[in-house]
Symmetry: C2
Subunit: 523 residues, 2 copies
């Protein structure tokens, strides 16, 4: 807050649990209707969610919460819900930032059941030869990584919500991981899915690749709980990193840095990390002075003879040709920093206070330079966000993807429109989180003074303005945050109209009573 220059020293405390009044459950069910369970499943983790939870406002909690421990129990819950005319919202880690798990459903339903999969968290089977593992949908990042580590394997997929987000939720929302190229979305890691739809069990074949008809699992991936409940999935896993090289590169401006990233993205080098942070964001995270831009560049492989150094050298040469200045590999003797062979996965933040420095060990290895500064900021951000909200700071992020040709004008228009929708002094910063040969995925962070009691209107005005600018500029309403309830108006404008018809028809076939997460994806 001091660094921002706005926000209040008067830290708002969360409403005490006993002061919260919930509407009574509308249905009797064999499942939990405890106040604690209903509250815990009422929201995701968006800014409006955080504000409302902080104030103790819970207008639409689920009427009941089920905790199935098996596919049979999922089926039973779906059958009960259909017979009771109750909508079902599959619930993983509860990290949706787009209203994906909020129990707002059409009036025709007599209630809402939140279907919490957290009891289904086992790694059921590992095929070391094919580098694959069958993992239950409720396992969160640390849980699945801990079980895979006993076999020397890792899924190596680190969304910012890693510590809470569940595998099923990642698949249902097409989550984005920390790899900047190639396996950017969870989509690429899915080998096969088992899911329970009201119309039957979905079991796809374990296949490394197939050309037999439209890819079946691609219909479930991104379906956000509307077509079936993902129970488990065979995931592509890998050896822990054995070779790594990384470096930070400074540019005079974000635009110049973006041009270097474009050339990198079209080189075939496929860096595992290639994040370009603008000056404002670098300053916020303590990495810069507010000018220029910083690129964090890294390569890794589970193969201990992988030529990371040759790839990094070429990538740095491309940056240099675009005016990039590679920072010295600080804190370690020259010649070793670029090719460390340490392991290092994120450790859990058990009990550490919000806003504290990120845990040691993280997705991209050790070190104490700008590279690790970025890593710390990346992992700490969700916790820092909650603290800022309590201090009266309107704090949100949104992200998109757009082609390179459109990017400069797009970025200018999204930045300008978003800034103008917010009260002074506001800060709208940007980083490129993922990059493709045909365009970047820019990620925007918004900070502004909140007007206490009017945060939701403020947020809504910003969200509408930013989303309109994204659509008008040729971007997608989301690159990896999903659609949920918040993005529906723009999603409906964005998708091909015949696809809306096809999706709606597919839903009617798989979920004839329409009980699965109604209001999301299918209008």
């Amino acid at each position: 807050v001091q660094r921002l220059g706005f926000g209040s020293a008067d830290v708002e405390q969360p409403a005490p649990l006993q002061a919260v009044r919930l509407p009574p459950p509308r249905v009797e069910s064999p499942y939990s209707s405890s106040v604690a369970d209903r509250i815990r499943h009422a929201y995701g983790r968006s800014y409006p969610d955080t504000i409302r939870a902080l104030r103790g406002h819970f207008e639409h909690p689920p009427d009941a919460v089920a905790f199935p421990a098996s596919e049979v129990e999922i089926e039973a819950a779906l059958e009960w819900a259909a017979s009771a005319n109750v909508a079902v919202i599959p619930y993983g880690g509860g990290t949706s930032v787009v209203g994906g798990v909020e129990p707002i459903v059409p009036d025709r339903f007599d209630g809402v059941l939140s279907l919490d999969l957290s009891r289904m968290k086992r790694v059921l089977e590992v095929d070391e030869v094919s580098r694959s593992a069958l993992i239950e949908a409720g396992a969160n990042g640390p849980e699945l990584e801990r079980q895979l580590a006993t076999r020397g394997l890792t899924m190596r997929f680190y969304p910012q919500s890693f510590e809470l987000a569940s595998l099923g939720g990642m698949i249902a929302t097409r989550a984005g991981g920390h790899f900047a190229t190639l396996q950017t979305h969870i989509d690429e890691l899915v080998q096969a899915i088992r899911a329970i739809a009201p119309a039957g069990e979905w079991e796809s074949r374990r296949l490394p690749g197939s050309g037999a008809g439209p890819a079946p699992d691609r219909l479930l991936i991104g379906s956000e709980g509307t077509l079936g409940v993902i129970a488990s999935a065979w995931m592509r896993v890998r050896a822990r990193p054995a070779s790594r090289a990384s470096r930070a590169v400074a540019f005079d401006s974000f635009a110049v840095g973006a041009e270097a990233v474009r050339v990198l993205s079209q080189s075939g080098l496929n860096p595992s990390n290639c994040r370009l942070v603008d000056g404002l964001e670098a300053e916020m995270t303590g990495l810069g002075d507010g000018g220029g831009a910083l690129l964090v560049l890294g390569f890794e492989s589970g193969d201990d003879g992988y030529p990371v150094q040759a790839l990094l050298t070429r990538a740095l040469a491309i940056c240099a040709a675009h005016g990039g200045r590679a920072e010295p590999p600080a804190g370690t003797p020259a010649g070793t920093a670029d090719a460390s062979r340490s392991g290092g996965e994120p450790s859990r933040r058990d009990g550490s206070p919000a806003g504290s420095p990120a845990p040691g060990g993280d997705p991209n290895g050790g070190g104490h330079d700008a590279v690790s500064g970025w890593r710390a900021a990346f992992l700490a951000m969700p916790y820092l966000r909650d603290a800022l909200v309590q201090c009266g700071v309107l704090c949100d992020t949104f992200e998109t993807a757009v082609t390179w040709e459109r990017f400069p004008a797009f970025h200018e228009s999204v930045l300008t429109a978003t800034r103008e929708s917010l009260p002074q002094p506001r800060r709208v910063s940007c980083r490129l989180t993922h990059v493709y040969a045909d365009g970047p995925a820019p990620y925007y962070t918004v900070l502004a003074p909140a007007r206490r009691g009017h945060e939701l209107e403020q947020w809504q005005a910003m969200k509408v303005t930013a989303s309109d600018a994204i659509l008008a500029g040729g971007g997608t309403i989301t690159h990896h945050h999903a659609v949920g309830r918040d993005h529906m108006p723009w999603y409906e404008r964005q998708r091909p109209q015949p696809f809306a018809l096809a999706l709606s028809a597919a839903k009617s076939a798989l979920d004839p009573a329409g009980i699965l997460n109604p209001g999301v994806l299918i209008g």
Copy 2:
């Protein structure tokens, strides 16, 4: 034929066109019903197609053939067909080997219209900054590459059918290209699609990536003409290769070579070429003596500083650790063969006789060693096949993908079952055409003496046996040859049952009269 030791010196000549008797067209239409057009659209390029065409047997030709030159003309054709109760089969290059374009449709239709897109073959727009091009669906490989070359770009996607296959056909069938890793299927190159469905125009947004709902275009990709007619697509293109390195590596056995390929596939090296050919196939193509196995390994990039040599060196070290013996880079001075900087795209085979050596210039660069030997065989095979058929040789290929853990037993069982379904002396050989970290895509070639007049029964027995063995062993009925009419029984067993319901419902929404390629994908 001499090398095979079977087949006849009595080369069967194709039936003369004037001797062919076609059933009369069942409907009057504004389109062509000439004998030549109807014959030319009656079959694809499978072995049974070739046999029947050779004998002049055309039982199910289309009743009419339309050649639309625009989206408006596609729409008009669909409207006419719906009003006349006529089925429509979208037709690109006619290279289906699975009965995908054969006009066998349910009796409820009054006729069949083949919708030939060959007049729509322009590159309409190029976005050099985003490395993307808008290409009409009817453009075949050489046509689209010739137009892209004027801008210094290439799609660099070479299925064996490259010279005839159309872009729309590649997308509709999820074609496989020559890259062994990463962009193995056309799926990855599709940025956006324009298609005409009876229910409306499909236009997806040009996006480098998106997480907004299930990926819309993934429903059209692989839909084999059943959901809409692909009119054009924005495709991801690239710079012509500026750096290349390749080498052939010999192994004592196919099994040992496959184990080396598995380790390569899990290394993150992502070679552009990584084809393992068994001894029998190496002998057939003049590359070996029938023993052992040969791996063709290559790296390439459009970036002229790309460290191809470092990547190849590491890949060769992995091969050596598995007993692989790298062949000397023959025909060129040491030190230059591994990093040639030549361009080189396939030139057209205008008028060259079937079975003649492959054209100069090809997907993987120059040279005169085992590497280029493989290339020559790859491109010449479709032409050689027709010649063998005329000599009384039963000649077919089929392909699949399976996880590495299952591969050894799978391969043994598919080989044995296929061999035993064929008369002596038969040859069933294998190569791995594409590889993934979780499994290979094996491609089988079948050669056996044909019993003249009974080829279709012989082929059917082999096809059923091989396909049953593939399904039983955990493979896919096709990795990149599509489903068509030939693979339907196994496709129906393979896909998740709820997906069949969803696809069928989607089709009813997009194609209410069910006129689009009936009998394919949707049972």
